[in-house]
Amino acid sequence: MAKPVDSGPYADRPAPGNSGKIFLPNDGMCMYVDSGAAWGTWGPVYPGELPVNGDFSWINQGGASVEQTYGGIFLEAPAVAGYSLRVRKKATPSTPYTVTAMFLSNCYGGPSPTNGYGMVWRQSSDGKLIILNISQPTCAVISFSDPTTASGTLQAFGANPANPPRLWLRLTDDGVNRTYHWSNNGQYFMQVYSHVRTGYITPDEIGFFVNASHATYAPGTTLLSWEET
């Protein structure tokens, strides 16, 4: 019998006519159920790639922890004032590459600087990092000499993003330049910053992080998808 669930590009979705069949487009934002006469649409729900916690290791773990009970990787850290990046990192792919991550935030907001999360590039030889940080009141690309010492803000963007319930971040190294992107739908990305691939660091590691930046409020975020292309 025909498979009741199928997946592929949206353009390859077959004509309706098999009642109960489900189609999951790997380049879309919905799932479709065949009534026998037409495709019904449920969403938004987004395709991804399951992250593998064992691929990552800690930098500046402190009291941070990860768990995978409910799908994805939930990264949580204790509250602490000032920067203290709790990082899960792995080796970068060979250039050119793009890494896209999907997050579901469990962070506090606020009018003053507070919880942040996002993606990170790291240079293993000296531990310098650059983060693509989602936080309030301003998102930013920030360089760090180590996980607790910010060096400078390279680009601020997306003021007051208000902890969107889900967010995609993307880091790309094409062998010449490194670029930083974000998206609220996983399909269309907005570039927020670009520099030469040796700018501040030449990263050989990549990962994700949370950062409390607050003495009372503890950050948490779930990495729902990690895709390397």
């Binding site: 498979k3 009741p4 997946s7 109960g20 159920v33 449920w42 009970t69 409910y70 506090y108």
Partner: protein, 262 residues
């Protein structure tokens, strides 16, 4: 143990999955390869090894639907399990001009230009220890302090301890009300965001027999505690429920998508 059952749709209300034991049966193996074998569900921890292209796993305790490519499980997310509320179990406190209707898998509460009072739907509390977890779509209209969330209520006095997100100021607030119409004092007010209208949030109230505990989550699985107080402070709750506080201008609307008692 993984379970199986065809997916069916029901009048646009959602996708209903009614599992049956799979009894260790593999797709196409021993059971004729029916569609039941391709549609499985269960705990995320029981996800079998990927090996059958087209198999789909509905994890009833995870944030995703998983599709077996034959080589790996590919997630579609976020997709959370709900427990649809049954509005017939609840009664009104201070209904005023508010209305509720059960539609589309949730319960909608709407009020027209109501005052800044609590419109409450309540029922008897479970025996302690218990937790109530509600999934809310925050009030749509963002004018002047609308909010929604969960309540502890004391039937003898009508006192309420409410726990909810408030649009103006971006605050998740735990507060005492002498009645549904009379504010008493705030317990806590911690920052959420300035712009949470249209965002969904899980709110949880717990009575563990010693304390009343208020917590929240944006994913439905990882909850952060914002407030804990002794279970007899201000009131001793024998009722629980949910509320909406109208914004005072035009209309305010919120949706309760899920109500789970554990």
């Amino acid at each position: 143990m993984a379970r199986r059952q065809p997916v069916r749709t029901d009048g646009g209300a959602g996708i209903l999955v009614d599992y049956q034991p799979v009894m260790g049966q593999a797709p196409g193996g021993g059971g004729g390869g029916g569609c039941e074998d391709y549609l499985q569900g269960g705990a995320f921890a029981d996800l079998p090894a990927a090996e059958t292209d087209g198999r789909t796993y509905v994890a009833d305790d995870a944030m995703m639907l998983l599709f077996d490519t034959g080589a790996k499980w590919k997630p579609w997310a976020p997709l959370m399990p709900f427990t649809p509320p049954d509005d017939s179990e609840f009664s009104w406190d201070n209904q005023g001009t508010a209305t509720v209707n059960e539609e589309g898998g949730g319960v909608w509460m709407t009020d027209t230009a109501g005052p800044h009072e609590l419109r409450v739907r309540y029922k008897a509390a479970p025996a302690t220890p218990y937790s109530i977890t509600g999934l809310f779509l925050n009030p749509f209209y963002g004018w002047s302090w609308p909010s929604s969330g969960l309540v502890f209520r004391e039937s003898g006095s009508g006192k309420i301890h409410k726990w909810g997100e408030q649009f103006s100021g971006g605050i998740r607030r735990s507060a005492k009300w002498t009645t549904a119409a009379v504010f008493s004092a705030q317990y806590t007010g911690l920052p959420t965001t300035e712009d949470h209208a249209s965002r969904m949030v899980w709110l949880r109230i717990t009575d563990d027999g010693v304390n009343r505990i208020c917590s929240w989550s944006y994913d439905g699985f990882h909850f952060k505690v914002d407030h804990t107080v002794g279970r007899t402070d201000f009131l001793t709750a024998d009722q629980v429920g949910w509320y909406m506080r109208p914004g005072g201008v035009l209309f305010t609307q919120t949706i309760l998508f899920s109500w789970r008692e554990t």
